[in-house]
Amino acid sequence: MKVTVERAALLRSLGHVHRVVERRNTIPILSNVLLRGEDDGLRLKATDLDVEVTETIAADTLQTGATTVPAHVIYDIVRKLPEGAQVSLETTGDTGQMQLRSGRSRFMLQTLPESDFPDLAAGELPVRFTLPPAELKRLIDKTQFAISTEETRYYLNGIYFHTIAAQGATMLRAVATDGHRLARIEIPAPEGADGMPGVIVPRKAVAEIQKLLEGADQDVLIELSPAKIRLTVAGVVLTSKLIDGTFPDYQRVIPTANDKHLIIDRDDFARAVDRVSTISSERGRAVKLSLSDGKLTLTVTNPDSGSATEELEVDYDATPLDIGFNARYLLDIAAQLDGDTALFKLADPGSPTLIQDRDGSAALYVLMPMRV
């Protein structure tokens, strides 16, 4: 293989692919990125056996061929090369090394044979649809924070995407929960998504997709089967395994009859929660919300360091209620609300609370109270 590429294009592409490569690997080939010089450009590919990213960039191919080199090493080299540089990559016949040259710099990189590089065979992906990048980004941004890291319930370690018929239209929904909080957002299902299987996209793939969507302006092509998903974002193709499990029947935990309504300025609320929670300990981050006519009192008590209270004027006229929540979770949700005013629908200190934008939004959040 012998190709010449622009440093900027190579760096951007390595930036996309090297991130899926785990820093510590027991299987050496998984530390490497696959480079394949073809007539139409240079193809790069990296994988951790669950997620695979490939991208083709413009290159001057003098001789076709392929090899693999340590992903993080080549990324760091290219990053440190001067802007506007040309980079030439050339495999040397018998030593099993690849030479990288740019200006007066020269590197010899140890390679592993291309034939060892695993292929995440995607198989048939019968469902195909496209989404504007902003829409997909929104689905992810609004739910990602609620993804669980608990290993036992592995089926919670991702975002659950599925379609649902609601009021005569088909909606595409994204849901994530860790048991303490739940985030749900829906958009009108794009053409072709109707009848798609419900899929759980693992956390790592979600994070990679989110990165790829930064600055993307073309529609994203999504293809999937019950076992795999593939997204094509501006020439970058990401393929991921899906979590093989059943997402819980979340619909049953979304309260529908909570009749105590609290309407509150989102920013005032978030700042007050942030202030009082300063006093809370690492382990118990409970903040108590005491609601009475037109008034909300936030209280945090930490036997080790003291206590804090703050009062807010709010729109609340139901019977008084004391309820506790994890301060971190309240802040996470407040950060996701789009409007200036939040609506809390509460029932009692032991039951889930619904939180949304007062003016209605495609997103809703459910939060389990804590004992206070």
């Binding site: 608990e150 036992t152 860790d178």
Partner: protein, 421 residues
């Protein structure tokens, strides 16, 4: 002349009668320069289960007695006569019988032992409210500040207590007295049965120096081997070693070990020590290896653990599976789950652990434990990813009520009835 108290007639005197009690002539005198300044005690009942059996059946008095279960079971307690042949607690029964073929083997009657233990505890509480039971037959006591109440130093109060246990309950105890828990426990082991040992502040370092590191609780075979590889065998070796180096060998435990090696132990005697875990285990008559055979047994154990958790109003965040194979190797596997006290939830987690271990190995024992305990109020309450939990809580509560009324077998899961080989 040191004050000495006679452990038989209880006379406390300063008279010298050639190492014998000036009143009754008994050689069992307790004296020590720091006798009346120490207040932390460890009390251990001598061969507890066996002693109770001997008390209740005088015909057993001069026979070796082993209390333990079945042919496949282990020795729970061996009397001192049986111990002379090498029989030890936790030894498999067949091995014990090989060592001591004349032993009278008695199936344990835990209820009876509990009653006796309650009697002993009652006497302990007569001395001080600070009684920390460690197991059915041993406890730590803190007698600080009881001198005026009993008109005697802790040492003398304890001597009277040991005598009362013999007179009123009919078993004997061994007592260790020192200035902290670690040393008190160490002392009670020095002179058994019917012993009373004192480790004073002055002599602490000297008494500890030659002891092997294995006397420290938590330093098991693995830690001993690691320490031995660095030339550390005795507590004196630990004492002089720089802490950073000890950390390298032992990790987080290093600080504790070093403090204990200097006889420093600041743990207070806590009357209500909350349990750290709740568990149940069983040894089989025949080895079992298949998941299908083990599953119903596991379910029943989960029910037992769940029942204990519910009774104590506790819940656990970890589930630990314990297996012992035919060669007595123990495997434990732990997983973390949302806090629960439900048998169903324990079983789901335990089952997953068990499935991974069923590789054809023949097992002789299976156990299940719930750890990282918290209050029941934090458990099994609506989890957004677990919408069934409320129904499950109600279902298990209903089953528990039925069982309370009509006995455990009145309601069973089909799984528990799977025919056993």
């Amino acid at each position: 002349m040191l004050a000495s108290v006679c452990r038989d007639c209880l006379l406390d005197s300063r008279q010298d009668a050639g190492g014998r009690c000036p009143r009754c002539g008994s050689p069992r005198l307790l004296s020590h320069p720091e006798r009346d300044t120490l207040a932390i005690a460890h009390v251990d009942c001598d061969a507890f289960f066996a002693a109770i059996e001997k008390r209740d059946d005088p015909a057993l008095r001069d026979k070796p007695v082993i209390v333990g279960g079945g042919k496949r079971g282990v020795v729970a307690t061996a009397c001192y006569l049986a111990r002379t042949t090498g029989v030890r607690s936790a030894m498999p029964m067949f091995k014990a019988l090989k060592l001591c073929p004349d032993a009278v083997v008695i199936k344990p009657d835990i209820e009876k032992y509990r009653r006796a233990a309650r009697d002993v505890r009652r006497l302990m509480l007569g001395m001080t409210p600070l009684v920390e039971p460690i197991s059915i037959d041993e406890a730590f006591l803190d007698l600080s500040g009881t001198e005026r109440l009993h008109h005697a130093s802790p040492a003398v109060t304890l001597v009277r207590f040991a005598r009362r246990v013999e007179d009123e309950i009919g078993i004997s105890v061994s007592i260790g007295l020192s200035h902290n828990k670690f040393l008190a426990k160490l002392a009670s082991d020095l002179d058994k049965p019917r012993g009373f040992s004192i480790i004073g502040r002055e002599e602490t370092l000297e008494r500890l120096a030659a002891l092997p590191v294995s006397v420290v609780p938590g330093i098991g075979a693995a830690a001993q081997a690691r320490l031995a590889a660095h030339g550390i065998r005795r507590l004196s070796d630990v004492r002089t070693m720089p802490l950073t180096e000890l950390m390298r060998v032992l990790g987080r435990e290093a600080g504790d070990l070093q403090r204990l090696s200097r006889g420093e132990d600041s743990r207070p005697v806590r009357p209500h020590r909350p349990p750290k875990s709740v568990s149940a285990e069983t040894t089989f008559e025949h080895d079992r290896s298949s998941f299908e055979e083990l599953q119903p047994i596991l379910w029943r154990l989960c029910e037992t653990v769940s029942w204990r958790l519910k009774r104590a109003e506790l819940a656990g965040r970890t589930v630990t599976l314990k297996l012992k194979d035919a060669a007595f190797r123990i495997r434990t596997r732990t997983t973390t789950i949302p806090p629960t006290q439900l048998a169903t939830r324990l079983f789901e987690a335990a089952q997953r652990l068990l499935k991974a271990e069923c590789d054809g190995t023949a097992f002789r024992l299976i156990g299940i434990g719930s750890g990282d305990l918290c209050g029941a109020a934090e458990a099994d309450r609506g989890d957004l990813a677990d919408p069934d939990v409320e129904r499950l809580v109600r279902r298990e509560a209903a089953v528990d009520r039925l069982r309370e009324k009509f006995g455990r077998d009145v309601v069973q899961r089909g799984l528990a009835l799977r025919p056993q080989r």
